[in-house]
Amino acid sequence: MTTPTDPTDPLESLLSAYERRQQDETRRMVQRAFKLENARKKGAEHLRQFALPHTREVADKLQQAGHRVVYQEFLDSYPPNVRLHVYPTGGPMDLSEPGRMTLEFIWGDPNPDRLFARRWTADGLGEAQDQGSVPAVDVDDLWVREQLLSFVRDALDLS
């Protein structure tokens, strides 16, 4: 006679093995979620501290200079990122529609624990170019300012 807690009982073994598998799956999922959330928090904190003030300032200045700007902050996203889209205003004789240029500061994509600056144009994300990246320990205002300056210079064709 076997009882439900008898480890030699075949049904008990089957149910225990299944339970273990489900628990392991859940544990892996929770650990992954923790890892993702911790990475997001760290990235959001770095972006908040170093990227946001300067990017907001540049967005304001571009707008004041008459360019169309769309500024987006996605600190709650996975991975967290900040985007600055610029539609440079041409001269009065320039009849063509301004093309869009976008700079994105993105944390942890494609490599973890690193801030990336990536840019792309109205041609689409397929044409995205990595402008530069920096490990977490080296992120500072200077690096962010350099990325913004380089982007604005190219967007306004000032180089």
Binding site: P4, P10, L11, E12, L15, Y18, E19, T26, M29
Partner: protein, 110 residues
């Protein structure tokens, strides 16, 4: 013999958080007993596990043979497994072995 054994196994499945129901349809036009199981799945898993059904039926009017069929997946019409034995060969060990085989396959897919 089969109904109490299936009910006992269903009860143990329920204690392990699975949905398990035994239906005694021996008085129906096609006499049979059904065990339907929906495996429990851990929270946050992307999809629910699909049902499995095991059916033990009296095959002919002379009641000489017992058929066992099971289906994995709620909407499958073709049985995943089936066999037929003489009624005299139906015993607890045979039944338990078949139910365990069915549950093993069902839980592997869940």
């Amino acid at each position: 013999m089969a109904v109490p054994r299936l009910k006992e196994m269903a009860q143990r499945l329920v204690l392990a958080r699975h949905d398990a129901v035994v239906e005694d349809l021996l008085d129906a036009s096609r006499p049979r007993v059904q065990l339907t199981v929906r495996p429990w799945r851990a929270p946050f898993t992307p999809h629910e596990a699909s049902d499995g059904r095991l059916e033990l039926g009296i095959e002919d009017e002379g009641e000489e043979r017992i058929s066992l069929r099971f289906w994995l997946g709620a909407h499958s019409e073709v049985p995943t497994g089936q066999e037929s034995i003489p009624t005299a060969k139906l015993d607890g060990a045979w039944l338990e072995g078949r139910v365990l085989g069915f549950l093993g396959q069902l839980l592997d897919r869940a």
